[in-house]
Each structure stands twice: as structure tokens, then as C-alpha cells.
Amino acid sequence: MNNTCTNPQTTIAAPAVESRPARRPRYQIENSPEAHTVKIELPGVVKAAVQLNLDDGILHLSAQRANTVPETWKPLHRELSDIGYELRLKLNDRVDEAGLTANLADGILTVVLPVKEAAKPRSITVQ
């Protein structure tokens, strides 16, 4: 936590509307020479409820769970939480921010962060 606070970038990027309770979703990152793929588990979240912001190298995800249960449903037993999700990822310089894409399917948000052409590994031919 201390590390995060001393990092000026992270502090600036924190939005003012932070009062809502949120939890950090589970996510997985896959790396390949072309792109970093982040798969974030967001069960119960619809596309319209996902907010994805990129600000100063920080990818900020905030997703509210849609209250999909009709009012007539009376809860008998609850184990799942209605709390929304919040995740902040600091992108490194290699990421091509303009080429970022995101797709939500089956409760998983897949964010593809392409690697900049200049940062891709290449082989140099010796003359």
C-alpha cells in the first residue's frame, strides 16, 4: 500500500468517485511478443456497466454488477456478493495504448494490450 501511495502517477490517477465499495476481480495476464492479454473475471456484469479508462499509463476498470434479480425474487440463501469490481493496472511503456481493445463475453473481460512496434523483438541482420 505504501508503495502505491508514494507513486505519484497512481495517486493522480485515482478518481474522485471512489466511495463506492468495490473488490478486486480475479485476473490473468498472458504475455506474447505481440501483446499482453488480460482476462478479468466479471461474473454478473453486463457490457453497459463496464467502465474502462486509460489515463496517464494507468488502465482503470470499474464495473458494477447489474442487479439482475427481479424484485419479486425473495432471497432464501445468499453466498454471492453484489459488490462491484475495481481494478487498476499500470501499463508499461511497451504498450501501444491506441491499439487497446476490450471484449466482454461469458463474464470475462478480455483486454488486449498490443506491444508497440518499436518494442517488439526483432533480429538485426549483420551486414
Binding site: 504475455n31 473475471e41 445468499r78
Partner: protein, 175 residues
């Protein structure tokens, strides 16, 4: 339950000072804590008189066994979390299954046990990971078994268990 617990505490305290004191019946919790002490205890002939009027009845305990109440008795050892809802016509069991495909979802009903199991396999260039989760619920009586349905949407699996006609609330006319 609370009442019983209180009584045990009292006797437990007495045990420490006078080993020959009365041991109330049905003090399962006490014997668990102090297995050695129970060997020396003699039963007082009048003990039965001081027992809680309902203490010996097994039905009393069952009445307040919340696990079997109200409608669903769930196995807590499983890992798939569930929400259970009810409305006038149906029971609903909802599971969180992010990334699980329809073909990897299995919903089975045998006798009164609803077994839900899901699996997910993630293959990347570097690694391969998979999980399998399952949960068994005991469904209440009066379910229209043929009409049970399941829906997978936005990473949520909802199993709808329609109540049989006899179970639905109805108004009884007075003559």
C-alpha cells in the same frame, strides 16, 4: 439451543471444584471438551427432574437445524457458491461461473438432489490451467421436475425450479 448451552456451562464450572457433581444428560459439547472428566461422574438419581423439558428430544434439535431449513440443504464442502431465491412460481439457484461454456456445464437432478458441475480450461501459449467446481443442493418437495430449466448468461448460471401446483400459494374460500 442457547438454553442448553447455558446449562452446560454451569455444570462445567461445578465439575472443576467437586468431581462428583451432577452430569446432565445430552451434554455432547461438554464431553467433547473434557473427555477425561466424564469417566468419574456419577449420575444423580434426581437429575432428570432438573433437565430442560425439551432437552432430551431429538426432534427439538432437528427443529432448529438451520442447515435443513427452509428449502434447500446444501453441501458446504463444495466450492461453487450459490444464491437461492424464491418467488411465487419458482425457486431459483444462481451460480457464478465466469468463462464457463455451455457445453462444460452439467446440471443433473437425481431423486431430490440437484447436482451442478462446471469446468473451465484455459490454454495459453505458456501454460494450461483448468478447474472443476460442483455443488449439490437438496431441492424441496413439490418441484415440477420436468420443467426445471437452466440458463447461462453473463457468467451467471441460473437454474429455475418451478413449484408444482400444490405448492403455490392459493386463497381458500370460506364457506
Amino acid at each position: 439451543m442457547q438454553h442448553n448451552g447455558l446449562r452446560m456451562e454451569t455444570h462445567f464450572g461445578l465439575l472443576q471444584t467437586e468431581p462428583k457433581t451432577i452430569k446432565p444428560k445430552n451434554t455432547m459439547r461438554l464431553t467433547h471438551c473434557q473427555p477425561v472428566a466424564t469417566a468419574n461422574i456419577t449420575r444423580h438419581p434426581l437429575q432428570g427432574l432438573f433437565r430442560h423439558p425439551l432437552a432430551g428430544l431429538p426432534a427439538f434439535e432437528q427443529l432448529f437445524d438451520l442447515a435443513s431449513f427452509p428449502a434447500f440443504n446444501s453441501q458446504t464442502s463444495a466450492t461453487l457458491a450459490v444464491d437461492v431465491y424464491e418467488d411465487e412460481g419458482n425457486y431459483y439457484a444462481r451460480f457464478e461461473v465466469p468463462g464457463v461454456k455451455k457445453e462444460d456445464t452439467k446440471v443433473e437432478l437425481e431423486a431430490r438432489r440437484l447436482a451442478v458441475s462446471v469446468s473451465r480450461k484455459t490454454v495459453t501459449s505458456e501454460s494450461e490451467s483448468s478447474f472443476e467446481l460442483s455443488r449439490t443442493l437438496t431441492v424441496p418437495d413439490g418441484i415440477h421436475v420436468e420443467a426445471i430449466s437452466a440458463k447461462l448468461e453473463d457468467g451467471l448460471l441460473t437454474v429455475t425450479l418451478p413449484k408444482a401446483e400444490t405448492r403455490k400459494p392459493r386463497v381458500i374460500e370460506l364457506n
